[in-house]
Assembly symmetry: C2
Homo-oligomer: 214 residues x 2
């Protein structure tokens, strides 16, 4: 069995975890755990409630770690129990991964020192605080540490990881299983592609106070 731990915390973004989960939970031998400081309901950022089935002590040494991001990342960074669990789990993990601002948590746990890493564009530069070199790429692989860009990028990251874990044929089948043949109606999914008005409007979605000050 391959134990795969998804860290859950209040005010996280659900898709950051659910995207990778839909790929990785379908790997042969996957033993999926949803881990939080306290098992039970977790209130995510825009309404959905997920359920953590395990506490930190229940899953001390997962094979694969997936850390989501979201507005709750900042409070989670200040939570010693969360960061300690991540540091210890990372010490023995086969893969330590993140989506979105989850990479800041990897940084706080010491997993990014001297490494390139990515994050949601809105907080990409903050990675420097943890000794990482921010890279505006969708998925960044550095040894056993894999970071993905904002929210939906976790799906691409998980398919790449699925190939490393179970081979490309398996990863291709998982891509077909989740019918991942993306056809977004617009082409504004990264800072490079979006215009300034779109960037401002998206920033307002995420940090209304900051945008008001601009």
């Amino acid at each position: 069995m391959t134990q795969i731990a998804f860290l859950l915390y209040d005010d996280m973004t659900a898709l950051d975890a659910v995207g990778p989960y839909e790929v990785l939970a379908r790997l042969p031998g996957a033993d999926v755990r949803f881990v939080a400081a306290r098992p039970g309901p977790i209130q995510t950022d825009v309404g959905m409630v997920l359920v953590a089935d395990s506490g930190f002590d229940d899953v001390p040494a997962p094979d694969i770690i997936v850390v989501p991001g979201g507005p709750g990342t900042m409070p989670a960074l200040a939570d010693a129990a969360t960061v300690d669990w991540l540091r210890q789990a990372h010490a023995t993990s086969r893969w330590t991964t993140s989506a979105c601002t989850g990479s800041l948590l990897l940084g706080a746990a010491g997993a990014l020192a001297g490494k390139q890493a990515t994050s949601h564009w809105i907080l990409l530069d903050q990675l420097r605080e943890f000794g990482a070199e921010p890279v505006a790429e969708r998925v960044v692989v550095q040894g056993k540490v894999i970071t993905a860009a904002g929210v939906s990028a976790g799906i691409d990251m998980a398919l790449m990881l699925a190939a490393k874990e179970a081979g490309e044929d398996e990863a291709r089948a998982l891509q077909l299983t989740i019918e991942y043949d993306p056809q977004p109606p617009f082409d504004s999914g990264s800072l490079e592609k979006a215009d300034e008005a779109t960037r401002l409007r998206a920033t307002q979605h995420m940090v209304p106070e900051e945008s008001a000050a601009v």
Copy 2:
């Protein structure tokens, strides 16, 4: 406020709902409800537990309906309370939508008669049973009914719907918010693109018994 109802049921696929949710819940004035036959925890198909906050009687007339799919679709089709709620909610909805095999539930509720519709490729042909014309497209719009292909296609559907509800500028900003600039590592996300071995392996993932019989 725009009331948006996500139907939840046991053995559904989490991403079918979470993909559209991450877009639609961020629309201005969104009032998001997770609706099930019984409020409380919902066990999805490969391990994750979601929480329904409302019963059918609590949300009789949502503005937007989103119906996910998954292995639980078949049992849900046989559940009169689910199909009745959907039929009645559809009678007054502004938009009735689905991801993946959720379109079969729309069909059972009478929402697809004489219409084109899509679904997960593995059950696309079953749409005929409900008087629909199956179309192998990622998103199909027929009046107020919008169906999406398998699992991840709900994200594309929701961005299209966001543009109809709040304008293209808003939809572009939401795409940037979820950093949806997809870069799948492979190109096997649809039947058209995947080879036969990939199709067989994916089928085995989803219906092991059927594949064994092939």
